[in-house]
């Protein structure tokens, strides 16, 4: 405690920021925050790590019910409809204005608004990409698959070599999302309406399910991430999140060469799920805090900050200008593996947020889990799922 510093600090408005980042990510975030706090004298952002995203979410729930929410918190935009219904969050545009969002990468912009207002500020975003084993690719003389069909064909050939073509994470929901999006029939469409038992969805599900059935693809199961098998040299490809790149780099065995590319096409179209977390501003914040939060978010969108954030954490830069920035381009040149994700932004998409999304998410994950771990076929699972999701949607519309 420097007396001057502390008296000055007393005048500052404190902005509490709950997040779920740990380790290196937390360090990067702290750096950003410190820089913000130094950059001005009116606000002070206090980041509080609340464990992982699961515990963070639980904490927000608890805090919401007892009126002890922070100023801002990291969360996914899919929670926004529920928060809006609970009168927990306030729109950001009132404080931030529309302008800052204009530069935000278009795909991220999709998730910002709910019922015409901007609630979710994109923060730690990543895209689904395809990792490949360079040496194995060369050895087996396989080209990078342009389509899911090609991937399946290659897989059948590789099976004789006791190589599985594709490793998936525990759940293949993201890939299924991609496929249905590519087919032009997303799982959830405006309304919201669930299209889980349509012909197209069944076909898309079969693409993955068939691969799992004939062992040209495998899920990670309890290991969580498909990278385990991928690094073991047992699979040629691994469909995973770009956020994992830094970790993959750290955990790759010595002499293991790998690369990344965009997800294959289906029905001739490209499409990649973008996921990650956003930041919301809570209603309980005072006007001064709201203004401070806006200033902080504004600060995060600045090119320098967002590029640094992306470079340090492996998340994607938030603005188009940052993506095109020569500085960042140089970084990409040095880190070719990071390129696939940035490229994916052009055809990236995000799920539609709606009330009851968490229930929907649980339901569909459970169904997909059943498809992978039991003998259930899509024809058996999907009608049930459709029914269940219909109920969920109906109930939430009523609420």
């Amino acid at each position: 405690g420097h007396p001057a510093a502390s008296s000055q600090a007393a005048h500052r408005t404190t902005i509490t920021f709950w997040h779920g980042m740990t380790a290196d990510h937390q360090a990067a975030l702290t750096q950003l925050v410190n820089r913000f706090n130094r950059s001005q004298t009116r606000y002070r952002v206090v980041p509080v790590s609340q464990g992982n995203f699961g515990t963070l979410q639980q904490k927000i729930t608890v805090a919401a019910k007892s009126d002890t929410l922070p100023t801002i918190a990291q969360t996914t935009y899919t929670n926004v409809p529920n928060y809006v219904q609970g009168h927990l969050v306030v729109p950001l545009d009132a404080y931030l204005g529309k302008r800052p969002f204009q530069d935000v990468v278009p795909v991220f912009r999709q998730s910002i608004s709910y019922r015409g207002k901007a609630y979710a500020f994109p923060f730690s975003k990543s895209a689904r990409i395809l990792f490949y084993n360079r040496d194995l690719l060369k050895q087996q003389n396989v080209a990078l698959p342009a389509t899911w069909a090609a991937l399946h064909q290659d897989g059948k050939r590789l099976k004789s070599q006791h190589i599985t073509a594709l490793a998936l994470d525990q759940s293949f929901l993201t890939e299924l999302n991609d496929l249905t999006y590519q087919a032009g029939t997303p799982l959830i469409t405006r309304g919201p309406r669930a299209n889980l038992n349509t012909k197209q969805t069944r076909a898309a599900t079969h693409v993955l399910w068939d691969m799992l059935q004939d062992h040209t693809a495998t899920t990670a199961g309890n290991a969580g991430y498909g990278s385990t098998q991928f690094f073991a040299g047992k699979t040629l490809f691994y469909s995973g999140s770009s956020a994992a790149i830094p970790v993959m780099q750290a955990s790759a065995p010595k002499g293991f060469h790998w690369g990344t590319t965009v997800e294959p096409r289906y029905h001739g179209r490209q499409g990649t799920s973008v996921s990650g977390n956003d930041i919301v501003l809570f209603k309980s914040a005072s006007p001064a805090q709201r203004r401070g939060a806006a200033a902080f978010l504004h600060f995060l969108l600045q090119k320098k900050q967002t590029i640094q954030w992306a470079e340090k954490t492996g998340y994607l830069p938030l603005t188009t200008s940052a993506c095109q920035d020569p500085h960042y381009q140089r970084y990409l040149a040095r880190h070719p593996n990071a390129r696939a994700a940035v490229r994916s932004l052009d055809f990236g998409f995000q799920d539609r947020a709606f009330q009851g999304y968490p229930q929907y998410f649980t339901a569909i994950n459970q169904s997909l889990d059943r498809l992978t771990t039991t003998q259930t076929s899509p024809e058996q699972a999907l009608p049930q799922l459709q029914q269940r999701v219909n109920t969920i949607l109906r109930e939430n519309r009523g609420a």
Binding site: T16, W18, G20, M21, T22, A23, D24, H25, Q26, V48, S49, Q50, G51, N52, F53, T55, Q58, K59, T61, V62, A63, K65, S66, D67, T68, P70, A223, G224, Y225, S227, T228, F231, S241, A243, A244, P246, V247, M248, A250, S251, G314
Partner: protein
């Protein structure tokens, strides 16, 4: 014959001990592997050098000294409080007669059946009203009782001959004096065991401290363990190193208390 029996006993115990020990050994071995955040569990690599520096790194990654202090404080006070309140209640349930004794006892046991997940939010709201969020009080006060401890102690208190109680009362001891001068020393093994179990529970408690505190100043060791895990991967060696130094105080505590747990007072002191 007797020797054979003893030998068999050791053999069985040793077999079981391997199963008990294996995960712990594994933990220590992993903690000595080269550190890096990974998506997969590392496997043994015996040949490589032992990375003792992992412990140093893990210690530095989070304010563990602070966490240690908090854990010590919280564990000591909650365990002490639990023992105190449980001893009192166990005494009432085993030695005193009052209306509704059986009903109340059963009711309390029944209460332990409520899953904590259900109580979390209402309790949080209560603490908010008390303005205790983010204070030591929130970490300590709700845990100052343990119905399990009460149950365990009552079971032990029940087995003592009543004549001891009467003798003490006649000799001018109040209930209070009898409790602390006779019953508690007599039950030291059980009290120590229960206290140890409660201390371990408190030391390892994770969800509650995380939920009711917001600043690292108040957080406890298990929360510190989260430092090494993120959505995108886990630094297993560092996590295991940290786990080891979270566990070690408990082990020391256990070793220190062990002799009290197995030192019976009622044991007939015949040789042989």
């Amino acid at each position: 014959m007797k020797k054979l029996l003893i030998g068999g006993r050791y053999l069985l115990l040793a077999l079981g001990a391997v199963a008990m020990l294996l995960p712990f050994v594994w933990m220590v071995v992993i903690s000595l592997q080269p550190a890096a955040t990974t998506l997969t569990l590392p496997t043994f690599a015996w040949s490589s050098a032992l990375h003792w520096e992992n412990y140093r790194h893990a210690w530095r990654l989070a304010p563990f000294a602070q966490y240690y202090g908090n854990s010590l404080l919280v564990t000591a006070t909650t365990t002490g409080g639990q023992l105190f309140t449980s001893i009192l209640a166990a005494f009432a349930f085993s030695h005193l007669h009052f209306y509704g004794r059986r009903l109340l006892f059963r009711g309390l046991i029944a209460l332990t059946m409520i899953p904590g997940e259900l109580l979390l939010i209402p309790n949080f709201i209560t603490l908010t009203h008390l303005h205790w969020i983010n204070t030591y009080a929130a970490l300590i006060v709700p845990w100052l009782t343990s119905i399990f401890a009460m149950f365990a102690l009552r079971q032990a208190f029940l087995t003592h001959p009543q004549s001891l109680y009467y003798a003490a009362r006649l000799e001018g001891a109040s209930d209070w004096q009898y409790l602390w001068h006779v019953l508690v020393p007599l039950n030291r093994p059980v009290i120590t065991a229960v206290g140890l179990l409660q201390a371990i529970g408190s030391w390892n408690a994770f969800m509650w401290p995380l939920i009711v505190t917001n600043s690292p100043r108040l957080r406890t060791l298990p929360v510190g363990l989260m430092t090494f895990t993120s959505q995108t991967g886990t630094n297993y060696p560092l996590l295991m190193a940290a786990t080891v130094f979270v566990v070690v105080p408990l082990l020391i505590l256990y070793l220190a208390l062990q002799k009290y747990i197995v030192a019976g007072i009622t044991r007939a002191n015949l040789k042989g």
